[in-house]
């Protein structure tokens, strides 16, 4: 069997270590964020083409009730990741209750065609710490170190 050149082997094991460490960082649970049994009511006003507030912050484990009011045409909220939806007719308020049992940031999207910029009507739901963001930054720093290590040696 043909052997790889030693320089290539050298680079391969460095990248192997990086992948192992990156996977460890990615899969490692962050210190547990205390689950809140409390309830949180949030009023969201939807108008073309924004939610107010645009960013909704809740604590992990909280029972969240979103009260969606539409001020112009029919709008909806679809929560990425949670795959939940609520639709409000103009002038009416509809509620959506759920337990914030997944941490991270989830995009809110209008689920009813509401006009020209409908596909871009978005907001955010932030549940606790965004572990993916911090893990990504850590992996980036580690990756840059490995790139320098492999290219410069």
């Amino acid at each position: 069997m043909k052997m790889l050149p030693s320089s290539l082997m050298n680079k391969h094991w460095k990248w192997g270590i990086f992948i192992l460490l990156a996977l460890t960082i990615l899969l490692l649970p962050l210190p547990a964020q205390s689950a809140q049994a409390s309830e949180k009511y949030i009023q969201i006003q939807a108008s073309s083409y924004e939610y107010n507030p645009g960013v909704v912050r809740v604590k992990p484990g909280e029972r969240v009730t979103l009260e969606l009011t539409s001020t112009d045409v029919t709008h909806g909220i679809y929560i990425d990741g949670y795959n939940l939806e609520v639709i409000a007719e103009p002038g009416q308020t509809q509620t959506l209750s759920f337990v914030a049992d997944q941490t991270g940031t989830f995009r809110l999207r209008c689920s009813v065609t509401c006009g020209a910029l409908h596909p871009f009507m978005t907001g955010k739901l932030q549940v606790g710490t965004n572990a993916l963001l911090w893990k990504s930054i850590a992996i980036a720093a580690l990756g840059i170190a490995v790139v320098i290590w492999t290219v410069r040696t």
Partner: protein
């Protein structure tokens, strides 16, 4: 050298040399393109129910940015329908050369033999993009304008002047095609040296001289090769090949790095950042400003957009390059204030152009990460419009009533993070390689790592910004 010649496979070679598979694909694409224009003009004004919007800006865009560009480079250009009608008129034939075509056959002006016009065309489209991407009529008018300009360019200038110098899409496909794992190259340049007819450039009875105005024996990068396969057909010595190669091979080649391409890298990277903020961010005022063309808010948005693309991003990058040059010991020896400034600028300008190519993988990753979110959330609009392209209540394929369903919403943020991290690491690696290639001053102590570190920091800052916009 790490290449596999795909055209050694008889089936691949036959398929690429034959004009029929390409013509069939182009005719299908032309039909789709014309239907998109027709739907935009006469179909429903609701973008998410109109074939012209959904097919072009979601379906085609997904195919282009997630598959065609990263894997096949300019593969899309080889089947693009936009230059077809003009080319048919110019050549006076649908397939092989025969008879005489129409047109003045003028040479493209020397001063415009660069991609600055393509840069300008892309920025122009980008400035109006929130309307173009959502209004079927505006989108149809823009597509029609592309078609008309391509026909006019074919009738006035020789070969594919539109594709090479004007197409706003072709400009960035060319830049990012350097990353693709396929290339068209000459097999043995000594064969070309002894071939006096140069049929690959001049043409023959078997095919046209390179429509992209490229001299195939001199090809070292994918940027301007439209993979139209004409040279495969005209070479009597069978001396051209399609090769499989490692990703990003062209980025390691220091030949032909130019300021217009460098700025294309800034324009694309900057646009990906702005689009992520405007289209995927939670800020309604930004969307409104980008949409209301001609309003004061739009003018402020346009000024901000242009400042970010042409001043802020290149300015910060220039500062990073200058810092790297200073740290890396490549500063020219000053002999007076003015001379020093001029020499310093000259040195930095060259390094600025060179290092800008580090932004190619970073920009491509940014566009893929942006597109992943946009495409997976909206691709389900495609199924109803396939049955009802005009939004007139048809149900041709029985899919008209399928509702909007975002796909992979749980996986998308992780996918985006991985793509952006991959782009950052690739950009870092490319900047270190470019640092190694910088010409050293005779008295300078060269420290490539120190030159590259500020560039890596710049790339990391942009990546963290994008992570903030897309997944935070």
């Amino acid at each position: 050298m790490n290449r596999v010649e795909l055209t050694r496979v008889p089936l691949i070679k036959t398929a690429l040399r034959s004009r029929w598979p390409q013509l069939i694909l182009r005719v299908i694409a032309l039909a789709g393109f014309l239907l998109a224009i027709l739907a935009g003009i006469s179909g429903t004004p609701v973008g998410s129910r109109n074939f012209g919007i959904v097919f072009v800006w979601i379906g085609w865009w997904a195919l282009l940015m997630l598959v065609a560009v990263p894997l096949f480079g300019r593969g899309w250009c080889s089947v693009c329908p936009i230059p077809m009608p003009g080319e048919w008129l110019q050549q006076g034939a649908l397939l092989k050369p025969q008879g005489r075509g129409l047109g003045l056959g003028k040479r493209w002006p020397n001063k415009l033999r660069n991609i600055w016009l393509q840069n300008g065309a892309f920025v122009l489209v980008a400035l109006f993009s929130t309307v173009i991407l959502t209004s079927p009529l505006t989108s149809a008018l823009v597509l029609t304008a592309f078609l008309v300009i391509a026909i006019a360019a074919s009738l006035v200038f020789e070969r594919r002047a539109f594709c090479r110098y004007l197409c706003p899409v072709g400009g960035f496909i060319g830049l990012y095609s350097q990353v693709a794992p396929v290339e068209l190259r000459v097999i043995d340049t000594s064969v070309c040296a002894s071939h006096t007819e140069k049929t690959c450039y001049a043409g023959s009875a078997e095919g046209y001289g390179c429509p992209w105005q490229v001299f195939p024996p001199g090809l070292v990068k994918n940027t301007y090769c439209g993979t139209c396969m004409e040279c495969l057909r005209t070479c009597p010595h069978d001396n051209l090949a399609i090769n499989l190669r490692p990703f990003g091979t062209d980025l390691n080649n220091p030949t032909g790095r130019k300021m217009d391409e460098a700025f294309k890298a800034f324009i694309m990277l900057g646009s990906a950042v702005v689009y992520s903020a405007v289209m995927l961010g939670p800020w309604g005022f930004l969307k409104s400003a980008a949409y209301h063309i001609g309003s004061v808010q739009w003018l402020v948005y346009a000024a901000g957009f242009l400042t970010f693309l042409f001043l802020l991003l290149p300015g910060l990058f220039y500062a990073a390059v200058a810092l790297g040059q200073t740290l890396g010991g490549k500063k020219a020896k000053p002999t007076g204030k003015a001379a020093s400034r001029s020499r310093l600028f000259g040195t930095h300008r060259q390094a600025f152009t060179g290092f800008a190519y580090s932004l190619v993988p970073l920009g491509l990753a940014a566009w893929i990460a942006f597109s992943v979110s946009f495409v997976f959330a909206n691709i389900s609009y495609l199924w109803p419009v396939l049955s009802d392209p005009m939004g007139w209540g048809w149900n041709l394929l029985g899919t008209a009533s399928l509702s909007w369903t975002p796909y992979l919403t749980q996986a998308v943020p992780t996918l985006q993070a991985l793509i952006l991290l991959g782009g950052l690491l690739w950009a870092s690696r490319t900047s270190l390689r470019i640092a190694d290639q910088q010409p050293a001053q005779p008295t300078a102590i060269t420290r490539p790592l120190l030159q590259a570190l500020p560039i890596i920091a710049f790339c990391a800052a942009v990546t963290f910004g994008l992570l903030g916009l897309l997944i935070a």
